[in-house]
Subunit: 140 residues, 4 copies
């Protein structure tokens, strides 16, 4: 029996279809919406590694909080486009990580983002080390 | 000394300015966003009566839940428009109420909505009577 | 050679994963967001029939406008849930249609919606008959 | 007769009340929503100076496009909070400007943002100098 390949710790690709809800009167995707797509990509990537947000909270009393976000807008996505969100870890510490998150359409880079996340205790919302199992899964 | 007039139990008017975030590629406000504006109007109206959502939860363990929403879209709001949200109670029961909520621009009716809310226990999320003080404040 | 089955004119199912962006402080999906999911389902269904919004606009100068929406909220979707959006036509006229749109989780009905759409000329935004090809594709 | 003070070119303060629509299941305002509040503040500031987005487009064929956004999240806003958005210009060039945009609650800094905008021709969506009248109004 073939073993399923271990999902890559550091990568994910997620497709998002652009609908009216995503656009604005300028004809392109509203600039604030990319932070939502990037959240979808992070959660899909964690789920793929076996760590849904619900499991992290219930089993480990851990939540993520975004502490910094920076985005460069290079080109616009439009209605009916399918864009692809990628994510990879660029720095991993005990209680934080930095993700490079990009949106592309047919290979063309649309938005180049870097998101810094802290790991918090879900009861006290104070910083805490991430659980060992999660840190191991995230290590490249 | 003049007494401040008692705020009307049954009415509120709230202005909302339309920005890019509100619009879509069709050039008008996205149809789903009106439910957000209507929530803003309901909360402003409750706050004006002295019952913020935070007070209702902390002092009375009560939350509202929308159980039905129906909207008729008559005319479109556009970028830079200032629209006015009105709200009035059309039915008041022990554990629910129905609000007529409308959006207008310069008097022209844009969206005609009716929203039904239930009052729930904030711990169990099961139906409960609204607190007597709230029911009295809402009665016309 | 086997012919691919003709996609059903009247049906579609679309999965939506619930992320933080979808939820509110009450712990469930914000009531206004379902109108966005329903738009995604309608567009996916049109695309499956060969009529993307872009094609309808460019080839036929036609756009849809929502004229009425009514929703019943029966049960709440929560973080990490995967909900399924279904859609089917309940009435089809020359220049309008009514869609039954529902959100379910594991078969349980969460939101029961009915959306009425008009077909408009994309230049004048006045009512027009839908193109014959579209009407035929939509007919059950 | 007193002259109304000339509105400051470089400053604006705008209040935003936090409703359910703004929050997420974590209990605080969703991180992506601040980009929307910052757009509201920019547009209110332009309108105060006499340059609504509609006027800029119709009279000068000019639109703004966000090219970079960076945000630091220091503290969380919650349901019923009233937060204050401030904005000031930190760099002004012929075809771009950088705004410092901050969200505070009772003086406490919640989110510290810097937004870079380019001025585009509204027909071609290519860079152009801002109109002289706008540049003068923006100069401190």
């Amino acid at each position: 029996m073939m073993k399923a390949p271990r999902p890559s710790a550091a990568h994910l690709r997620l497709a998002v279809r652009i609908n009216y809800e995503d656009t604005d009167v300028g004809g392109a995707v509203y600039y604030g919406n990319y932070l939502g797509y990037m959240e979808r990509a992070r959660n899909a990537w964690l789920r793929q590694l076996g760590f849904s947000l619900t499991r992290l909270r219930q089993q480990y009393c851990m939540v993520f909080a975004v502490t910094e976000a920076s985005l460069k807008y290079l080109s616009a996505a439009r209605l009916d486009d399918e864009i692809e969100l990628s994510m990879e870890i660029v720095r991993l510490k005990h209680a934080s990580l930095v993700c490079a998150q990009r949106a592309r359409r047919d290979g063309e880079l649309l938005v180049d983002g870097e998101i810094k996340l802290a790991t918090l205790n879900s009861d006290t919302y104070t910083p805490r080390h991430m659980p060992k199992e999660l840190a191991e899964a995230l290590r490249p």
